[in-house]
């Protein structure tokens, strides 16, 4: 069979995000895959060097559209570490609840993408419907559906509106009530098993060597989770589990995602019960006069896709001197994906890519 050069994306129904993979195929088998990012490169880190600390808050969430919240969190953590800002206790809880909601939303988006990729419209539509319910919660809380700009240094931007706790509980119950439907239709579907089992396997050794984090690692049985390793917000205040699977293939990764979602929901319930009353915001200094001492910091948190890090340097000015995000999709999408795609079938490109949860804007920044 002759070799073909095949472009997967950027204009492609199976592609989530503006990303493309150049495939060299022989028949249905992929000989070589080259990730080709950069369609979404905006030079974020450069732009952030031109804006003052506070002006970067609306910026930073735009890096990752699927889960902007962990981006807000990581930047707030970085700034707090540099400037030594304390956060009230209640704000820690609100942040955790908010981030877990975001994780549920993000995983539902991933589920949509994955199911859609397999041609599984039904489940895809359900997942997107339920994500929309989560977005409604965000809208209620923060005033924006997608970009929330909610976590600030020194706490959160606004307290819970009245009756919001009940709304969270109700929404999560209504989503949770559909878990049997999802299980019946998707997770316990024989054909899902056929399609995903043994596909895109990343062994633990490979994952460790290539810097994998998140589900990629947890699907190989390692309980590596930054929330557990280096707890932030209120993650050390309530007990919770790190779900894992053993096989390291797409099937395991999607199951890890499912279990994580359920664990997140349980965690939200626990956090809601344990949440104290009180202040949620320590006022930051006047934004026009805010300078941060000459220091550097590396902070990390667990986004829905893996370890999200931020290397932040200040030279004592009112702007960051250097910002560099360590995004999970970067390693997953550029190193691991290229390796995992080798010798796979064309039909599985999207399958593997989405099971690794590669989010293109995060790579390009």
């Amino acid at each position: 069979m002759r070799e073909l050069e095949l472009y997967f994306g950027p204009q492609h129904l199976g592609m989530v995000g503006n990303f493309s993979i150049t495939l060299k195929v022989e028949g249905d088998r992929i000989l070589k895959a080259t990730a080709n990012p950069g369609y979404l490169h905006r030079g974020f880190e450069k732009l952030m060097e031109l804006r003052s600390w506070i002006k970067n808050f609306p910026m930073v969430c735009r890096i990752n559209v699927v889960e902007p919240d962990s981006m807000e969190m990581i930047y707030a953590m970085g700034v707090e570490k540099l400037a030594g800002i304390e956060v009230p206790e209640r704000a820690h809880y609100i942040r955790s609840i908010y981030l877990e909601l975001a994780r549920v939303g993000s995983h539902l988006f991933g589920l949509w993408a994955y199911a859609n990729m397999l041609g599984f419209d039904t489940v895809a539509q359900w997942a997107m419907y339920h994500r929309d319910l989560v977005l409604d919660l965000f809208e209620e809380l923060t005033g924006g559906r997608v970009y929330h700009i909610y976590i600030w240094p020194g706490g959160v931007r606004r307290d819970f509106p009245e009756g919001f706790k009940d709304k969270i509980v109700n929404t999560l119950h209504s989503i949770g009530g559909c878990v049997p439907d999802y299980d019946n239709t998707f997770f316990n579907n024989r054909l899902f098993y056929e399609r995903a089992k043994g596909i895109g396997t990343v062994t633990r050794e490979e994952a460790l060597a290539m810097g994998g984090t998140g589900q990629v690692l947890r699907a190989t049985g390692m309980q590596y989770d930054v929330r557990r390793v280096e707890p932030y917000a209120a993650y050390d205040k309530v007990p919770w589990e790190v779900p894992t699977r053993e096989d390291g293939d797409a099937y395991s990764r999607i199951w890890v995602v499912r279990d994580e979602m359920i664990e997140s929901v349980h965690m939200i319930f626990k956090l809601l019960d344990a949440m104290p009353e009180g202040e949620v915001y320590n006022r930051i200094p006047n934004p026009f006069k805010w300078t941060i001492p000459n220091k550097e910091a590396y902070v990390r948190c667990e986004s829905s896709r893996g370890e999200l890090g931020l290397y932040l340097v200040s030279n004592g000015g009112d702007k960051p001197y250097r910002v560099h995000f360590r995004t999970p999709s970067y390693t997953h999408g550029l190193t691991i994906l290229e390796k995992a795609l080798k010798n796979a079938s064309i039909a599985d490109v999207g399958n593997i890519m989405i099971s690794l949860y590669v989010v293109a804007p995060e790579i390009d920044r």
Binding site: K46, G221, H324, L334, T335
Partner: protein, 173 residues
């Protein structure tokens, strides 16, 4: 950081500076010659997760600072120690004129895209890197865009703003 590792580092390498741990964060500054050996030493001592390779342009001091951020994966499945909490920031300086460095791919496989990115955005050449092809950028820039002397606002007003509108709108303006 555990003291034995500190001793090992200070005894093995000249001119290495280790700042004390501050909230799970240790900064190490090393000579550029010894950086790869420091990396492999750290890797063999458990810091086997390369989180990030970054670069800072200290234009006034005429140097680039390459930053390697390392942390530790767990050794056992459900076992957490303080070691996993620690982030190591390993820094080294290189000259800003014709910047060159050695690739860390032999030690950490995932250094590849990071170095490629730094090559593209800062113009630092990495020896031994298999493909230093453009990663993100489509246009060519005289100065690599992430350097501090690249003024993106000026670039925008020089390159994109003069492009005229087309059709009715062009007549209106």
């Amino acid at each position: 950081m555990k003291d034995p590792l500190k001793d090992k580092l200070t005894s093995a390498f000249d001119g290495i500076q280790i700042q004390p741990a501050d909230r799970n964060q240790i900064s190490i500054t090393a000579n550029k010659e010894s950086i790869l050996s420091v990396l492999s030493l750290l890797k063999s001592n458990g810091y086997n997760h390369l989180a990030l390779i970054s670069c800072v342009d200290w234009i006034e001091e005429k140097r680039f600072e390459l930053v390697y951020i390392l942390s530790a994966y767990m050794e056992k499945d459900k076992h957490f120690t303080d070691m996993e909490k620690t982030n190591i920031i390993l820094k080294t300086s290189i000259y800003r004129e014709k910047p060159q460095f050695i690739s860390a791919i032999p030690i950490f496989e995932n250094a590849e895209p990071y170095e490629r990115e730094i090559h593209e955005l800062y113009g630092i050449h990495f020896e031994g890197h298999p493909r230093l092809t453009p990663l993100f950028l489509e246009r060519e820039y005289k100065t690599p865009p992430f350097r501090k002397d690249f003024d993106t606002r000026k670039y925008v007003s020089d390159v994109f703003d003069p492009i005229p509108f087309v059709g009715k709108k062009a007549d209106k303006r």
